[in-house]
Point group: C2
Chain length 505, copies 2
C-alpha cells in the first residue's frame, strides 16, 4: 500500500502490514488449514442438522461493523462459537440429505489456488491458462463420460464450467429461444413452449420465468409409477401435439437423468426421437447422476445423449469438486455465443480478433468468472479415473447395503427402485394399526419419523412426495461416509421407528 | 469410504486414504499455503500479462484424463511449470488493467472456510448461519455506505450476495419486468423498454437479452463531454418521452456510479426524479466505485440513492474480497421473490413455513449458493472500517500521484477528469509531428504505446475509447501496489513513449 490518509483518529488504528503480505498470508493460512483439518477430524461431534432457531445469530453479533481491526485469533474463535453451531454439516459422514456435496482435498486445494491467483477470466486474454485448462479438462471429462465427439472441442462442440445447473439451463434455454425467435419472429414470443416432467428440477421453471416464457406455456408433463416416474415419450408427444394444434411453438425440452426427488431417469433416446422433427432443443440435466456415468455399468443411462443438444452435470454434487462447479457441454457453442455475447470496446483485444481463442464470457450469464477448472483438474488428477469410479461405486454399494437392511425388515418399504446411491423408503402401511392405514396418516407418521431422527442430531435425511407418497430419502454421497456410518444410521432408524410405532399403538 | 469395487485392475491403483482424510488434508493444505505465500513473495518476477500464445496449454497437457492417481507434488510442479506462465497476474503490484480485483488475506481465508464447510445454502434450513451471517453483514455494509434504512433488513429492504453485477442486474430487471407485466399484461411484453447510457456496462444489455426484452427496445442514451460522459437527465427524459409517444412502456433504468471505461458518474438524484412519475425501476450499478463510498469524502457520489430501487457493488473489485462477491441491496425483496421463487416439495421445511426466515434461493438465479458472506465478514472484521477507508484512500492517492506526473509532462494529456483511483491518459496530439495530428493517428500511436508496454511484461494496463478518443486506463487497486510501483510504471511509460515518438519522427 502507499502511505495512508491523514485522519489522525483513523491512522491510529492502522495495521502496518499490507493486507496481502506474503509472510502474514503464510501464518494465517496455516492457521486456517489446521482449523479445518481439526473440523473434519471432529465433525461427528456436531449435530448434523443445525439446531439453532431463526434469528439466533443476530442476537450474538454486533449491530454494526467494527471500526478497528480485529485479530484472526478472535475471528476464528467466533467462527467456532457463533458460526459452527449454525452450520448444517454437509461434510459429516452422517449427512444423507438432499443430494450431498462431496468435498475432497483435491477439490479444496483447487479452490485455494483459484482464489489465490484470483484471476478474472472473462476472456482468453485476461488469463489464458484459465480458458485453456477449462477447455482441456472439459474434453477430458467428456471422454470419461464417453460423450460423442460432437460435444467436445475436437468435434466442434465444447464444454464450459458454470456455477450451477440453474445457470446452465438458463443459458441453453436462452440460446434455443433466440434460435427459434430468429425463425418465427419476435411477434411469436408468447407462443414458445418449454417441456419437462413433473419431476424435473425447479431450475427449469425458474429459467423459463427469467427468460420471459409465458408461465402458461410451461409444461410439467405428468409422470407415474408405470414408467417409474420417468417422462413418457408418448405423453410428451401428446403434449407437443396439443400445443401445436393450439398454434403454439414448442422449442425446449429438459430431460433428467437422476431426478431430485427419486433419481428417476427419463429415456433420453426415445425422447429425442419424439422431438427431433419439431426442431426442439433437448437439454439433458444429469446434475446428480451424470458423474456415475464414468463407470461403464452406469453409462447406459445416458444412451441417446448423442441426439441431444446439451448436457450438464454438477461436479460439486457427486464428483468431489466443491461448490460451485456445473459442467455444461453443447454441440453448437455458436448458439450460446449468439444469445449471450456483448463486445464492448474495453474488452477488445488481438487474441479475440484472430478468432483462435474461446472467450467464455459469451458462454454464460456473467462476464466475470473464476478459475474453476483448477479444482476439476486437480480432482481428476489426484484420484485418477480408476479411483473416481471406485469412490462412486462405494457410495452405490453403501446405498445397496442400506436397501438390504430395509428389505429384510418388513416394517419398511423401499418406495421406488434404487438406481444410484439413494434409497427412498418409508414405514409401510402394513406396519401400522389398521386405523392408520390411510395414505395421509401413513405420510404423517413418516414425516414425524424423519423429523424425530433429524432432531436427534445423529443423522440428517430429507423427504420427497411423489405420486402422493411421502418418502424418506437416504442419499449416500458425503466423502467421509463409511459402511459403519450406514450401520449406525440403520440403528437410529430402527430406534425411532419403534418409538413412533409404539406411540401410535 | 466403504469397501470398494471388485475390478482387480482398478483396485490395484487404489489410494487407501479417504479423499477427505483430515491428516492428509492438513499435510496437503499446508503445502498449498506455502505455494501461494511463495507466489505472492515472488510475484514481481513474472511478466504481468501472460506471454503465451493461443493453444499453448493443449500442446503441454495429455489429451485424456489419467487413469491412475497422481501425487500432489507432481500436480504442483505442473501448476508452476504449465499453469503459471499462462496466468495474467491480477495480484501483481504492477497490474493496472481493467478494474483490478483486490485480494486480501482475510478474503482468502473466508473463501477457504466457505469451501471447507462446503454448505449449499439455498434456504435457511440448509445452513442457518449462511443465511443469517449474510443478512447481518449486508446490514453492516449498508450502514457503512450510509444507505437509507429502506435498503436494510431493519427497514424492510435487504441485501443479498450474488456472484457478479450481471446476475444482480438480471435479477432486478426480471423482478421489475414482472412487476410491470402484472400491471400492463403479458401481451405488452414487446413494448418494454430498458434504459442506460452508452457508457453503461454491457451487463445491462446482456441481462435485457436474457430476460427477453426486444433488442430494439434497449436504449443506450448517448453521453458526451459536456456532462463528463454521465447520463443526462434531460436526454433520458427525451428518450422516455419519445418511447411513450411511440406507445412503448419504459420500465427499467440502470444508472452507473463509476463507469467501466472512465469511471464517469451518472447523477442519481436527478435521474430518479425524472423517472419517478413513470414507475420505472432504478438500479444503481456501483460495481467499481461503490466501495469508495464508505469514505465520507466520496459518499456524495451516491446521493439520491434513497430514491432508487436497488443498488449493487462488487466487493471483489475494490473491497479486498476475492472473486466472486457482488453485494445487492433492494428496497422491496418481495419483488425479487415473486419473480424468482419456486417452491418444490423436496425443499419444504418448517422454518420456511413459519415465514421467520429468509430463503435466499428466491433472491437470485441459482438455487445452490456458497457461504460467501464469510469472506465479506472476515474482510470487514480483519481490517475494520478505519483501515478499509485508508486502503481505498491510498489507492486514490497513488492514482493522484500518477496523474501529477502526467500533468507535469506536456507530452501527455489526462483525457477525462480523474474521480477515483483510475487515470485515463494518452500521448497528446501536440506531442506528435503535425502530420500525425489527426485523431485516428493519435489513437493508433497510443494503441501501439499501450501494446509495447504490455508486451514488456513490466506492467499491464488496458484501454478505452470514449467520444472517439483512444485512452490508456491506469487503474490502481491491486492490494500489493505501493508508491514505488507507480514510480516504476511512470518510468516505463516515459521510456516507451520516447521510443514510439522517435519512431514516428
Amino acid at each position: 500500500m502507499g502511505s495512508l490518509g491523514n485522519d489522525a483518529h483513523e491512522a491510529s488504528s492502522l495495521f502496518n502490514l499490507n493486507p496481502l503480505d506474503p509472510e502474514e498470508f503464510r501464518r494465517q493460512g496455516h492457521m486456517i488449514i489446521d482449523f479445518l483439518a481439526d473440523y473434519y477430524r471432529d465433525i461427528e461431534k456436531f449435530p448434523v442438522r443445525s439446531q439453532v432457531q431463526p434469528g439466533y445469530l443476530r442476537k450474538r453479533l454486533p449491530k454494526s461493523a467494527p471500526y478497528n481491526p480485529e485479530s484472526i485469533e478472535t475471528i476464528l474463535q467466533d467462527v467456532q462459537n457463533e458460526i459452527v453451531p449454525g452450520i448444517t454439516h454437509w461434510q459429516s459422514p452422517n449427512y444423507f440429505a438432499y443430494f450431498p456435496s462431496s468435498g475432497s482435498i483435491a477439490g479444496f486445494l483447487g479452490e485455494m489456488l483459484s482464489t489465490g491467483f484470483n484471476v478474472v477470466g472473462f476472456n482468453w486474454m485476461s488469463s489464458p491458462a484459465a480458458t485453456e485448462l477449462e477447455s482441456i479438462v472439459m474434453d477430458w471429462f467428456g471422454k470419461m463420460l464417453k460423450l460423442p465427439n460432437s460435444f467436445l472441442f475436437s468435434g466442434n462442440g465444447g464444454g464450459v464450467l458454470q456455477g450451477t445447473t440453474c445457470e446452465a439451463i438458463l443459458c441453453t434455454l436462452t440460446a434455443s429461444r433466440d434460435q427459434m425467435l430468429n425463425k418465427i419472429g419476435r411477434d411469436n414470443f408468447r407462443k414458445l413452449v418449454v417441456y419437462g416432467s413433473d419431476q424435473t428440477h425447479c431450475a427449469l421453471q425458474k429459467a423459463a420465468q427469467i427468460a420471459g416464457i409465458d408461465p402458461k406455456n410451461f409444461r410439467a408433463v405428468a409422470t407415474n409409477k408405470s414408467t417409474e416416474f420417468g417422462l413418457s415419450p408418448v405423453a410428451l408427444e401428446a403434449a407437443i401435439q396439443a400445443d401445436l394444434e393450439a398454434g403454439l411453438v414448442p422449442f425446449f425440452l429438459c430431460a433428467t437423468v437422476g431426478t431430485t426427488s427419486i433419481t428417476a431417469v427419463d429415456p433420453i433416446g426415445p425422447l429425442c426421437d419424439v422431438v427431433k422433427e419439431y426442431g426442439i432443443w433437448v437439454h439433458i440435466d444429469a446434475a446428480y447422476a451424470g458423474s456415475a456415468c464414468i463407470c461403464p455399468e452406469f453409462r447406459h443411462f445416458i444412451d441417446g445423449v448423442e441426439k441431444a443438444d446439451s448436457f450438464s452435470l454438477n461436479a460439486h454434487k457427486w464428483f468431489f469438486t466443491t461448490l460451485d462447479c456445473c459442467c455444461l457441454w453443447v454441440k453448437d457453442p455458436s448458439a450460446l455465443v449468439k444469445a449471450l455475447s456483448t463486445n464492448p470496446e474495453y474488452l477488445r483485444n488481438k487474441a479475440t480478433e484472430t478468432r483462435q481463442v474461446i472467450d467464455y464470457k459469451d458462454w454464460q450469464i456473467a462476464l466475470s468468472r473464476r478459475f474453476r477448472s483448477l479444482k476439476l483438474w486437480m480432482v481428476i488428477r489426484s484420484y485418477g479415473v480408476a479411483n473416481l469410479r471406485n469412490y462412486l461405486r462405494s457410495h452405490v454399494k453403501m446405498a445397496k447395503q442400506f436397501e438390504g437392511l430395509l428389505v429384510a425388515d418388513n416394517r419398511f418399504e423401499v418406495v421406488v427402485p434404487r438406481t444410484f446411491a439413494m434409497v427412498c423408503f418409508r414405514v409401510a402401511p402394513s406396519a401400522m394399526a389398521i386405523t392408520f392405514n390411510e395414505e395421509t396418516n401413513v405420510n404423517e407418521l413418516n414425516a414425524k419419523l424423519l423429523e424425530s431422527m433429524n432432531v436427534s442430531g445423529k443423522v440428517y435425511m430429507t423427504h420427497a412426495v411423489v405420486g402422493g407418497v411421502y418418502m424418506i430419502r437416504f442419499a449416500v454421497g458425503t466423502t467421509l461416509t463409511e459402511e459403519r456410518h450406514v450401520s449406525a444410521v440403520w440403528k437410529v432408524v430402527q430406534e425411532h421407528t419403534n418409538t413412533i410405532l409404539n406411540s401410535y399403538q
